[in-house]
């Protein structure tokens, strides 16, 4: 098994002190690999995901797009210019103009603000509501959990969009506020179920039992053990929910229940451009492109986040 070279090398080591007993080394507890915290590791894994990074970059670009041009521009998005109706994209109007001569680039930018705000606000509100509801339900368990979940089950049965439509009718949604309210009234149910399921699973895990056995206070258990394990899922959930809300707003505008003029949103722009698809396709193209790009980017970032935060993926 050993070559003569090795044997020679070994003999080189032998000297009169070689067989002195040294005993156990004190630093045997040293760990050779650097400790990596959960979040640092997750961030490292996220960075490795080129697609997700690219999507993140696109999101930043989009945000800059919706914020900057209207500020820099000399005209407003509402400015009607009867002489420049329905122009194709040109040097004066990079996205062209609509049927009232309004510059489309500005309209898409301003509309983008509304759509993105609704998307993020809707996602955040429902996720936080859902978290709290699901968390309380799971934490108390027993009858409280039963009743709370029955309510959620019944609410989930009513198709979400139907509720949104009804709510819009009832609240006569003219402003962003009422629109968001209509969309979030039952949106939190899905998140509540998800969070509740997650917490119930954690509750029964052995490390919680171990912590309790060690005498860790309930408060610490919730803050240091449960919440960090749920946060990952919630963040991913929020990221995935945003495109849903952007789409929801676009859908409502499409059927005439969303943002009304003078305000505008991507959905409203797409809706009004639809009848003239054959003649002025660019009017539909740009808002649609923005919607698709935003939804795509959020979904890819969400995918990346989910993969990065999943402890099972640690290799």
């Amino acid at each position: 098994m050993q070559s003569t070279e090795n044997i020679k090398k070994k003999n080189d080591y032998l000297n009169k002190n070689s067989f002195d007993i040294v005993g156990v080394e004190d630093d045997f507890q040293e760990i050779s690999r650097p400790r990596v915290s959960y979040y640092k590791d997750a961030w490292r894994r996220f960075k490795q995901n080129k697609v997700a990074l690219f999507a993140l970059f696109i999101l930043f670009a989009l945000i800059i797009f919706v914020v900057v041009p209207p500020i820099l521009s000399s005209t407003t998005f509402n400015q009607i210019d009867k002489l420049s109706r329905n122009l194709k994209p040109c040097s004066d109007h990079l996205f062209g103009t609509d049927k009232l001569g309004r510059d489309l680039l500005l309209r898409v930018a301003v509309g983008g603000r509304v759509s993105i705000v609704i998307g993020i606000a809707g996602a955040f509100i429902t996720s936080i509501l859902g978290c709290i509801y699901g968390g309380i339900s799971a934490y108390f368990g027993g009858r409280v959990d039963d009743i709370m979940m029955r309510i959620v089950e019944i609410l989930i049965c009513i198709p979400y969009l139907i509720i949104v439509i009804l709510m819009s009718l009832i609240l006569k949604s003219e402003s962003i506020g009422t629109l968001i309210l209509a969309m979030t009234i039952t949106g939190w149910c899905g998140v509540a179920r998800l969070v509740r399921g997650q917490i119930l699973q954690i509750k029964s895990e052995e490390y919680i039992l171990a912590a309790k056995a060690m005498g860790v206070s309930s408060f610490r258990i919730v803050t240091k053990y449960m919440i960090p394990n749920v946060i990952g899922i919630v963040i991913v959930q929020i990221t995935f929910a945003i495109p849903g809300y952007i789409f929801g707003e676009a859908f409502l505008s499409y059927i005439g229940l969303g943002i009304q003029s003078p305000g505008t949103s991507w959905g409203a722009l797409a809706s009004s451009a639809q009848p003239m698809l054959a003649y002025h396709p660019y009017q539909l193209f740009f808002p649609s492109l923005m919607i698709a790009l935003t939804m795509l980017s959020f979904t890819l970032v969400g995918d990346g986040l989910r993969d990065a935060l999943d402890p099972k993926m640690r290799k």
Partner: protein
Amino acid sequence: MEKILSVENLRVSFNTYAGEVRAVRGVDFNLHAGETLAFVGESGCGKTVTAKAIMRLLKEDIADIKKDSKIIYKGKDVLKMSKKELQAYRGDEVGMIFQDPMSSLNPTMTCGNQIMESLILHRDLDKKEARQEALKMLKLVKIPDAEKRLDSYPHELSGGMRQRIMIAIALACNPSVLIADEPTTALDVTIQAQIMDLLNELKHELNMAIILVTHDLGVVANFADKIQVMYAGQVIERGTIDEIFSAPKHPYTWALLKSVPKLSNENKQELYALEGTPPDLILPLKHCPFAKRCKYGMKICHEIMPDATNMTGSHEVSCWLMHPDAPKIEADFHEEVK
């Protein structure tokens, strides 16, 4: 007894984000027909990886079996087998049972079907014949109400019963070698004893060679013919069961024997536990891997790897204490083990 399995210089590494983890570092051993060989060692010493390598069950995309490793089964190198040869080898020549019988059985397939699958594949039986054979297997592993159990699902059975099903599946085609990877670790002590008794009977009835992978020396005592003690991916001592239990030479083996709780222990005696942890296998380790934890570690132990010293034909130790110039140390485990 003919030699049926011969492993030479097996080296397996895993590619991780932190670097190359050398899990198995040059393991050799021979297995003869009807012989029982036990791999003993702490978690992470490489015994399961070695066992899985014998059947080439390691995931190809993360496990790297080095080029000059050889696993020779009845004259053929397993590592060079074609897909077809490999499929004929697995299940028919060598069978394997795993640690956790609940997750190792398909939850949506009846126990009978899982046994029959092997039979239909390797013995070319039709369904009726296979069912009869499967029934025979269930009776062989002493499952009560065998006829009914053929149509049960794994979750309907207790842990001990599931492990018997696993054994039935592995033995269905009467393989020459059975590899048992920690078969009793997930079971209660009483069930453990039952399963080990069953394996003992079966090995005599079927004249089967067994490789038993375990971290529990107590399980090995009345079961194995030979033992190889593994540490940090290497075999540090090997021998017959008598040699290891009555005249072990490696300080790690002493520690393992000391840590087996004995009924003769006094009531308030502390259980012996070896301090420290095995080395991180990412490190290359050009010296004895046990040196840091060894009470008798010498300067040379921290500098270079010891040779394997052959005491008798079957008893081999890799320790610098065996060197003629080293101090003579008495095995210090006799005090507790009687």
